[in-house]
């Protein structure tokens, strides 16, 4: 740069090495947080166990290979797999269930999604994974209700209801893409799943939270295309 003029790139070189390093680290932090649409770094209250994380990642990969949708949710027009966005940032989200209220024959599970995601992304697909530890086949199905808060946010309304036949112990999947998409559309951040088992089942037999078979929702989302104003 001409004498005396301030050269942005040189400015850094003029700093003392430690000051330069601090400036670069601050820049790196800010850059990552901005790109993740975070105000500040999140504080982790209950990290997921490594076992549950690895099991979930393995299940998602196996599911992709099978490309088989579970017998549970009838295809009620789930989200059409939108063409992968050219260059738009995509997200894979793993949301592990938080236990809600339960009775002798039903249990509620809550799945939370942050505002950063619900406000700026569109859901491409979402799948609920449930692991049944029942000893043997059950003739009568489990009732699965997807609940979401009503307009006032006071009561829970049934967004959809389906029946899940559990033939043997193991993982079952349900397509919840439509429900999660409509949640995001209403600006809500919590999906509630209610599982109700027939009388002869005893309590809903789901693995415990500490176990690596805890229920989770795996979703794929994509950043919304920036709103373009067409000038005519």
């Amino acid at each position: 740069a001409p004498k005396g003029a301030w050269c942005p790139a040189c400015g850094l070189a003029a700093l003392a090495p430690t000051t330069q390093r601090d400036a670069l680290i601050a820049l790196a932090k800010q850059s990552i947080l901005t790109k993740l649409r975070l105000q500040d770094r999140p504080n982790i209250t209950h990290p997921t166990s490594r076992g549950a994380l690895l099991t979930a990642l393995h299940r998602m990969r196996a599911q992709r290979v099978d490309v088989a949708v579970s017998p549970g949710m009838p295809h009620d027009g789930s989200i059409p797999h939108l063409r992968p966005g050219m260059g738009l940032q995509e997200y894979e989200i793993l949301s592990f269930a938080e236990s809600g209220s339960s009775t002798s024959r039903s249990v509620r599970l809550h799945f939370h999604f942050t505002r950063e995601l619900t406000g700026s992304t569109e859901i491409l697909q979402a799948t609920l994974y449930l692991f049944w530890a029942v000893p043997g086949p059950r003739t009568r199905p489990v009732t699965v209700r997807l609940l979401q808060p009503d307009a006032m946010g006071l009561n829970m309304t049934v967004a959809s209801k389906t029946w899940l036949k559990v033939q043997r112990p193991g993982w079952a999947t349900l397509d919840v893409g439509q429900a999660v998409q409509s949640l995001f559309g209403q600006g809500s951040q919590r999906l509630t799943v209610e599982l109700e088992v027939p009388e002869d089942w005893g309590s809903p037999v789901l693995a415990g939270r500490s176990d690596s078979h805890w229920p989770f929702v795996a979703a794929q989302a994509r950043a919304r295309t920036p709103h373009r104003v067409q000038r005519r």
Partner: protein, 114 residues
């Protein structure tokens, strides 16, 4: 592109690694262990303008001399990224959900003169 080394003053790529453990972010960023926040630095004399990286061939050197002799016709030239790649992150969000995303164009692979 050229990596900066020793006292090279020409346009080059400066490597800079941010270790997430060093900055206390390893609890919420599961993978990777750090971020290569490389950047471009160095001079772009006018006869280097428009050539990615430094001159590496006789033809380019001659081209540079022609440019240098017509220096007054040229404009300023800057040392900028010519190749970049995404930063893949696996991290916890505020609700302890686990998110995987690829942030485009976050890692500078090569630098050159505009």
């Amino acid at each position: 592109g050229i990596d900066c080394s020793g006292d090279s003053r020409m346009c080059c790529r400066k490597e800079f690694f941010v270790d997430f453990k060093e900055i206390g972010w390893e609890d919420w960023i599961i993978q990777p262990e750090g971020y290569h926040m490389n950047y471009c630095t160095g001079l772009c004399p006018l006869h280097m303008a428009g050539i990615p990286g430094l001159a590496a061939s006789f033809h380019t050197a001659v081209l540079n001399l022609i440019k240098a002799n017509n220096a007054d016709a040229a404009v300023d030239s800057c040392c900028v990224p010519t190749q970049r790649r995404p930063l893949s992150l696996l991290y916890y969000d505020r609700d302890s959900n686990i998110i995987k995303t690829d942030i485009p164009d976050m890692i500078v692979e090569a630098c050159g003169c505009t």
